[in-house]
Subunit: 428 residues, 2 copies
C-alpha cells in the first residue's frame, strides 16, 4: 500500500536536522519514497496531516518485553528479595505462550507511545516473542539472553540455544531480525562472550549485553575478571559498532574513551536505573562526545514501569542537566537523536530519519493539543511536553500499526489475554 501524507510539520532528523513545514511524505513499498512540498504521487491512502507533527519512529534500544507481565509486581521490595521471591519464581513458570501475551501487551503500549522498533534480550519464549512482533506490526531485534557463569547453566548449551535461535529466526516480514545476547560480564564467562560475539559477526547481526548497571556489578567483575566491565569486554575484543552495551552507569573516563574509540552503542535506561535506586546516572552525553553511539531504552516494564520512550527522552535530558549542573548538558535535539537515528544505528536498521530511501517508520502527533502549544519549539515540545495522548498514528514498515488511535490488532483481547497470563504466572 502506498500512503501520501500531506501538510505536516516534519522533524526530519536528516543530516541538517531540518524541520520542514507544510511538507508531504510519500510512502511506498515500506520505504519513504519522497519528501517535499506539494507531492503529486498517487497513493491508495491519502492523509491530510495539517496540524500534525511527524517524526521518525522511536527506537527502544534495550528492553525485555515479555516482562511487561510483571509491571507493578513486587513493588516496595529490595532488589534481591524482589528477584528471588517474585521475579525468578514467576519466570520459572513462564511458558512461550506467556511470553507471547506479554510481548503483545508491550507492543500495544510501545506503539501508542511512538516506538516503532525495539532491541530485546530475554530468557524464554523467543520464538513466540518473534511471532508477537510479526503480529503486532513492529520492528524488532531479538536475542536469547545467554548466561553460563551461574549454577545450572552450561556454556555449550547456552551457545546452542542463543546461536540456534538467531540462525533459525526467519522473519516473514523482514521487520523481525535476530541478535546475539549475553547477559552480563559478571554472569557470563569470557568464552561465552567471545563465542557469542564471533557468531554475531558471522551472521552480521548485533551483539547485546548488560554492562556496569550497578556499583556491585563493577566490583564483582573487578574481583572475578580483574578489570572493570567495559575494559574487560574490550580485552575480550567484543566492542565495535555492532555491540550494544545496556546501562553503562558506573564507568570510568577511560571506559568511556574505549567505548568511544570502538564506536560501540550505549543504551541508556534512565527510568529503570532510578527506579532500581542504583544511585548514579549514566554519563550518556560523555559517551556521545567520545564517539560512542548513544541510544536510549526503557528496560523492562518490571523496573520502569512503562515502555514509554517519550518519558525516557525527557528523563535522559533532565538527568544529564542536573547531574552536570548544566542546563546545556543535553539538548532536546540530542535526546531525540539518541532515540531515533542513533537507536536505528544500534539495531543496524536503515531508519531513524525522514529521508528518501529510509524505512517508513513514522509517528504522527497532534500539534493542536494544549500541552503541545504554543509552538515556540516543536523539538522541545516533543521531548519535554509530549505524552502518548498526542500520538494519533504510527506507521511501521509502510503500514499502519496504529491509525486514528486504533491499533492494527484486537487490543482489548491482547490486554485480557495478558492479564490472564500474568495471573497464571504469579500463581493467583
Amino acid at each position: 500500500m502506498d500512503i501520501l501524507i500531506r501538510n505536516a510539520t516534519l522533524i526530519t532528523q536528516n543530516a541538517k536536522r531540518e524541520i520542514l513545514k507544510s511538507a508531504d511524505i510519500f510512502v511506498s513499498n515500506g520505504k519513504i519514497g519522497k519528501v517535499g512540498k506539494n507531492l503529486k504521487e498517487n497513493a491508495e491512502e491519502k492523509i491530510d496531516a495539517k496540524g500534525k507533527i511527524i517524526f521518525p519512529g522511536l527506537v527502544n534500544a534495550h528492553t525485555h518485553i515479555a516482562m511487561t507481565l510483571f509491571r507493578g509486581y513486587g513493588e516496595g521490595m529490595r532488589l534481591q528479595d524482589w528477584l528471588t521471591k517474585r521475579i525468578w519464581p514467576a519466570e520459572a513458570r513462564l511458558k512461550p505462550e506467556h511470553a507471547y501475551r506479554g510481548a503483545m501487551l508491550g507492543i500495544a503500549e510501545m506503539v501508542r507511545s511512538g516506538t516503532t522498533a525495539f532491541n530485546e534480550m530475554y530468557v524464554a519464549g523467543m520464538e513466540k516473542i518473534a511471532e508477537a512482533a510479526e503480529t503486532g506490526g513492529v520492528r524488532a531485534t531479538l536475542a536469547f539472553s545467554m548466561i553460563d557463569d551461574v549454577p545450572g547453566h552450561e556454556t555449550e548449551k547456552e551457545l546452542r540455544e542463543g546461536i540456534g535461535f538467531a540462525g533459525k529466526l526467519k522473519s516473514r516480514s523482514g521487520r523481525v531480525k535476530a541478535g546475539i545476547a549475553c547477559h552480563a560480564p559478571y554472569t557470563c564467562t569470557g568464552e561465552l562472550i567471545q563465542k557469542g560475539k564471533e557468531a554475531a559477526n558471522r551472521m552480521s547481526i548485533p551483539f547485546h549485553i548488560h554492562a556496569s548497571e550497578t556499583r556491585k556489578e563493577v566490583f564483582d567483575v573487578l574481583k572475578k575478571r580483574g578489570q572493570r566491565p567495559v575494559e574487560y569486554l574490550d580485552k575480550l575484543g567484543v566492542l565495535d559498532r555492532r555491540t550494544v552495551l545496556a546501562h553503562a552507569v558506573y564507568v570510568t573516563k577511560r571506559e568511556i574513551g574505549i567505548a568511544g574509540k570502538k564506536g560501540a552503542s550505549v543504551a541508556h535506561c534512565p527510568v529503570s536505573n532510578l527506579k532500581l535506586a542504583g544511585g548514579g546516572v549514566c554519563p550518556i552525553g560523555e559517551f556521545a562526545r567520545s564517539g560512542a553511539n548513544a541510544a536510549l531504552g526503557t528496560d523492562g516494564a518490571a523496573s520502569n514501569n512503562s515502555l514509554n520512550m517519550l518519558e525516557t527522552m525527557k528523563m535522559a535530558a533532565l538527568l544529564q542537566k542536573n547531574f552536570y549542573w548544566d542546563p546545556l548538558a543535553l539538548s532536546a535535539q540530542q535526546a531525540l537523536d539518541f532515540a531515533t537515528i542513533n537507536g536505528a544505528k544500534a539495531l543496524g536498521i536503515n531508519a531513524g530519519s525522514i529521508e528518501e530511501g529510509k524505512l517508513a517508520d513514522l509517528v504522527i502527533a497532534d500539534a493542536n493539543a494544549p500541552n503541545m502549544n504554543p509552538r515556540h519549539s516543536d523539538m522541545d515540545n516533543i521531548v519535554y511536553a509530549m505524552n502518548p495522548s498526542n500520538i494519533t498514528d504510527v506507521i511501521i514498515d509502510g503500514k499502519f500499526a496504529m491509525r486514528n488511535r486504533k491499533m492494527s490488532f484486537d487490543e482489548k483481547k491482547v490486554v485480557e489475554k495478558a492479564c490472564e497470563a500474568a495471573l497464571d504466572l504469579v500463581g493467583e
Copy 2:
C-alpha cells in the same frame, strides 16, 4: 447536578488508604455524598465506570500558569541569559489578556492530566487568571507575587497590590480562592514577608513563597540575611501550617526539622529543578518524616515544560530512590499522598480523598489501556505507568471539567488564542 458513578475501582486515599473494587460514588451539590456498593441514589447523570479507576484529583501545589505561554521559549540558554534576554522582556509586555489566555491553555493541559486544583503565584494579570480558573472549571488558590528587595519595587506598593488582590477576589463559584505570596527570601525584605504573612493570617488564607531553590540563593540569603532561607523564614515567624515553601532543594537537616516542627508545607517540583540543572534533589521524604506536609508541583511550563502531575509523581518517587540508593525511599502510595491529600492540605481545601463530605474532585481513568495492565497493583500503575491518554473524565466541584475526553470549554479556540498571545509576547 447529581452524578452517580458505578462499578469503579476507587483509590480512596482515606485514612486506611482503602482501595474499593466495584464501588460507587454519589456526587451531590459539589460534594461526595456517599461512597459504597450498589448505591441506589437518584442522579440526573449516571456513569457506568466498569473497567475504570477513580482517584482524587491531583493538586499542583506550585505553578505559574500564565507562563504556559513560554513553554519551549528560550531553550538551550543558561538561566541568567534566559531570564534577561527572553523571559523578562516578554513578561514586561504581558497584559492581563495574555495572562488569561496562558491560564486557559494551562488549565486545559492540567485537567487532561488529572489536576483539579493548583496553587498559583504570579506577577501580572491575577484578576484574569482568576477569571480563567472560573471559566475553566478548576479549583485554584491565586496570589500576586510580591517582591521589594530589587530595584524599582516598593514595599508598600507591593503590599497594596498583593493584599488588595486577595481582598477583592470574589469567587463566583467558591472554587477560586485567594492566597498571599512573597517571591523569595533573597528578593523580599523581612518587612514584606512578615506583613504579607500577617495579612494572610488575618484573612485565613495560605501564604506561598519560593525558598532554597538553588545553591546560589542559599549563599545570597546567608550573606544578605545572616541565615539560611528556611531558618530565616522561621526567625521571621512565618512558618506554620498555612505556609507553602516552593522547592526547598538546598536545605540542612536543621531546616528540615524546623519545617517539620512548624508543620509547613513543602511543594517539591522535581521536573523543574532538574530542567534548570540546580544539581540537587529536594529531600521531600525527609521533610515528610519530619512532620512537614509534603506536596508536589510542576512549577511553570517555562521550566518543566509540561504541567503533568502524573509525570511529577513518578519523577518524585524515582529521584528519592536514586538519591538515597534505596528503592524503598519513596513509595507510589506516598507520591500519590503528596499529590492528593497533602496537596489539598497545603491549599487548605477539603479535598484529596474519596470520602463522604469531601469536595467532589475526581479523576476517572481507563484501566483497560495496555500501559495500565496487568493489574498487579493499581497504585503502582497510577504513579509509574499512567499517562494523560488514560484519563477519560475529570470532575471538579461536582461538575465535569472533562467528559469522555472532551473539555467543558472550546479547547480549540483556547489553543488558538494562547498561540496568538504567545507570538504577541515574544514579538514575532
